[in-house]
C-alpha cells in the first residue's frame, strides 16, 4: 500500500500565496498461482484504484460495491481488499484452465478499471498541448491530434456518444487540486464533444495559442526541485445518458469479450497504434458469459477504436481508474491522475493471442 501526503506551498510575484495539503493512497497486490506440474504461472492484480482519499477507501462499504457479471464484485469509492484477494486467488487459479483466445474480431465490453488506461494513453496524452507543439519530441513523443485537425472543428476523434471531459475538481480523483503549480484554480472543460475534438490541455504560457484567455490550470511539478510544466488533468469519459447497466449491455453482445483490470499497455509515440491487455477476460456468446479466457490483448488505432464505441453504461456504473506514476519530461517527472468512465462497448476490435503472438 502506498500513501502520499503532499504538503505544498506556492507563492508568486503575481500575488499568490497558496497552501495545499493533498492525500492519496494506492492499495494493491498481485496473486500468483504456480502449477508445478506444467511449470506455468498465472497472476491477477488487485481491482482497486489509486484514489485521492485516505484510509476511508479501505472500509469496504456495501453501498459502494457493484454486483458484476459472473458473481464479480466491483468497487466504486470504497474497497474491500481481503474480499478482492479471495476473488483474485480464485481467478488466478481459474486462468490455468481458461480457454486460450482464438485471434480475430470481437465486440469488447470494457470495465472502467480497465478502460481508464485506454483513455489515459489514447486520449489523455495526445491532447497534451506541449506534445502537440513538439516539446516532448525527444522523450514522450508528439501527437497525431495536430492543431490543423482541431482548427477544422470537424475531426471525429470518436463516435457521437463519446464525450471526454478534463477536470481538476472531481472529488476523490488523483489530479484534483485547488490550484495548479502556477497558481491557477482547478476547473472543468471539455476536450471531445459528441465525438469531435474541441480542446487540449494547456498552461498559462500556452493557452493563448488556442485563442483562449484563461489557463486550463495544468501546470505541475513533482517536487520542490523540479520545474513545473504541462501535465495531464483527470481526463474522463462521460457516462451514457440512457439507463444501462453492464448486465443489460452484455445481453446484446453476440460474440465478445468482457475485460477487467489493468494489464499490458503500449502505444506509439504519436498515439496511433496501441496494444492493451487486462487482468481478467470473459467470453461472451449470444448475450451470456460462457467462461474465462486467457492470452487476450487488443490491437487497434486510436481514431478507429473510439469510433467503434457504440454504448456507454449510465452514471450508476461510473468508476475511477488511476495511477501515481504517469511519466513525462526530462529529467523525468511523475504525476498522479485518475480517469472516470462507465462500462463501454466497442464493436469489431482486433484481438491477438499473446501466448502465441511471438510465433504468428
Amino acid at each position: 500500500m502506498s500513501f502520499v501526503n503532499e504538503q505544498k506551498y506556492f507563492a508568486s510575484t503575481d500575488g499568490s500565496y497558496i497552501e495545499q495539503d493533498i492525500h492519496r493512497l494506492w492499495p494493491t497486490f498481485t496473486v500468483t498461482v504456480v502449477d508445478k506440474q506444467t511449470g506455468k504461472f498465472k497472476t491477477r492484480d488487485a481491482l482497486s484504484a489509486p484514489m485521492g482519499m485516505g484510509y476511508e477507501y479501505l472500509a469496504g462499504k456495501a453501498s459502494e460495491k457493484i454486483s458484476g457479471p459472473n458473481d464479480l464484485i466491483l468497487y466504486r469509492y470504497s474497497y474491500d481488499m481481503v474480499e478482492d484477494a479471495v476473488q483474485a486467488a480464485k481467478q488466478a487459479k481459474e486462468k490455468h484452465t481458461a480457454k486460450s483466445i482464438q485471434p480475430g474480431k470481437y465486440d469488447l465490453v470494457l470495465d472502467p478499471n480497465h478502460l481508464g488506461l485506454t483513455i489515459h494513453e489514447s486520449i489523455g496524452h495526445p491532447l497534451e498541448l506541449d506534445r502537440v507543439l513538439g516539446y516532448e519530441a525527444n522523450y514522450a513523443g508528439t501527437s497525431f491530434a495536430t492543431l490543423d485537425k482541431w482548427k477544422s472543428g470537424k475531426f471525429n476523434f470518436g463516435s457521437n456518444i463519446v464525450n471526454i471531459v478534463a477536470d481538476r475538481t472531481q472529488p476523490h480523483f488523483l489530479n484534483t487540486v485547488g490550484y495548479d503549480d502556477e497558481g491557477v484554480p482547478g476547473k472543468e472543460w471539455e476536450l471531445i464533444k459528441n465525438g469531435t475534438l474541441i480542446n487540449y490541455q494547456a498552461t498559462r504560457d500556452q493557452v493563448h495559442m488556442l485563442g483562449q484567455k484563461q489557463s486550463h490550470g495544468c501546470c505541475h511539478a513533482d517536487s520542490w526541485n523540479s520545474a513545473q510544466f504541462q501535465r495531464m488533468p483527470n481526463v474522463s469519459l462521460r457516462a451514457g445518458k440512457e439507463k444501462l447497466n453492464v448486465h443489460d449491455m452484455i445481453k446484446k453482445v453476440e460474440n465478445g469479450i468482457y475485460i477487467l483490470g489493468r494489464g499490458s499497455y503500449s502505444i506509439d509515440q504519436q498515439r496511433y497504434n496501441f496494444q492493451f491487455g487486462g487482468q481478467v477476460f470473459y467470453e461472451i456468446k449470444n448475450g451470456k458469459i460462457t467462461g474465462m479466457l486467457d492470452d487476450v490483448a487488443y490491437q487497434s488505432n486510436t481514431q478507429q477504436f473510439w469510433n467503434s464505441c457504440v454504448e456507454i453504461c449510465d452514471k450508476d456504473d461510473y468508476r475511477s481508474f488511476g495511477t501515481f506514476r504517469d511519466g513525462k519530461g526530462q529529467p523525468s517527472q511523475v504525476s498522479a491522475v485518475s480517469h472516470g468512465s462507465s462500462t463501454s462497448r466497442f464493436n469489431n476490435v482486433n484481438i491477438i493471442n499473446t501466448n502465441s503472438s511471438a510465433n504468428i
Binding site: 511449470g39 513538439g134 522523450y139 526541485n225 506509439d268 509515440q269 504519436q270
Partner: protein, 438 residues
Amino acid sequence: MAMLNEQEAKKIIDKVLSYAKADETSVTLIGERIGNIRYARNTVSTSGEADNLSLAVTSIFGKRSGTATINEFDDISLEKTLRRSEEIARLAPENPEYMSLLGPQQYSKSNTYSENTSKINPLYRANAAFASIQPCINKKLTAAGYLQDNTGFIAIGNSKRLYGYNKITNGDFSITVRTADEKGSGYATQNFTDASRLNTKAVTEIAMNKAIASRDAKELAPGKYTVILEPEAGGELLQLLINTLDARNADEGRSFFGRKGGGNKIGEKLFKENVHIYSDPFNIDNPGSPFALDGRRQEKISWIENGILKNLYYSRYWANTKGVNSLPSPSGFIMSGTNQSQSDLIKETEKGILVTRFWYIRAVDPQTLVFTGLTRDGTFYIENGKIKHAVKNFRFNESPANMLTNLVAVGKPVRISGNMIPPMKIKDFNFTSLSDAV
C-alpha cells in the same frame, strides 16, 4: 555540499553510529549534483542543477527494522533521525527473513569518477546544446535534445564496522531530430563517465542523417524479418531479460528461468552458443560501483556463457536458504561482441530491417518473456547489403529469449545506458502490425 571526500563521509557515518542503541545499525550517505539542459523546437526549454546530500539510517532490534531519512546534517538532526529509525523499528513486525548485517569487507577501486564530468557547468551545457541545435537550424531541421550530468558519491557503514565509499560521475545525451514536413525523425544517444568523450555535434549529425533518410517511409507488411538492432534497441530488450535473473522468482516458479517441476535453469543451454553476457564493475569502458547497497562486493560475474545460464542473482536470505554463494544483482552488464562494425553487419545482410530504437516496451507474457513495443526514429529496409529506403514503424511482439536463440551475428559493443551492447543481427524477429507514427 553534495561532494564529500571519503574522510568527511566516514566522519558523518561514524557520528550517526555513535548515537545508536539498537542491536544493529546501518547508514547510507548519498551526495549528488545533477545538472541538465533540455531543448525542443530548436531552443532551450529548461535547464538547472540540483545539489543534494541525503542520509538514510536503518536500526534493527532482533528481527524488527526501521528506516528514517534526512538531508540536514547538524548533530541534533542526525540524532533525531537515528532515534526515529529506532522508534519505527520497535513498532515494526518481525521480518522472518532478516539477515544480520555484513561485517567489514574489502572493496577494490573502480574507475567510476571523472574530473572532466565533475567540472561541467551551465556554460558547458549551453555550448553543448548550441553545438547540437545550430547544425539543425542550418539544415532546416528541428532538434529536441537532453543532456544530463551527475557527480556524486555513495558511502555505506554499519555497526559491524563495514565501510565503503565510491565516487561516481555519469552523463547522458540524447537527441531527436525531425524534418520540417514532419515526415522524418532520427535519434542518437551517448552515455559516458568521462565528459571528454562527449561530442554533441557528432551525435546530432547521426540523428540528422537518420531524420533526412527516414522521410517518405514505405509500407512493409508485418511479419518475421531478419533485423539488425542498433545497440540502443537491442540493449532495451536485453535489459528486460537481465531484470528477470532473480533466483528466488525462478526457484519458486514465477520466472522464465524457473524449471518445470521446481528449481531453476542454471546449467541449461538456453540460447545460441555466441551469447556471452557478464558484468564487471572494473571494466574500463563501463565501470560500476564495487559494492551493492547492502555491502556485498560486486565482482566480475558470468551470467550467460556460450548460451548456457551460468548464474542467477540472490538476496542474502535466499542464498542462505539454498546454501549457495550470494551474488547481488549487477549494476550494469556487458554482452560480448566482435570487431565487426554495424556497417559490416549490414553488408552481410541480404534482406533485413535496421532498427534505431524501440519505444513503449511492456510485458505481454512473463512466462515466455514476450514483450510488445514499437520501432521509432529511424527504421530502414536493407537489401543486398545496403540500406534501400525507410520503412513505416512496426509494432513487435517478441521475446528477448527468442532473440538470443535467433542471434546470427554481433558487432562491437558500445556503451548504452550503463551497459555495453553490440549491434545484433537476429533472424525471424516478429513484427505484428504497422504504426502511422513518425
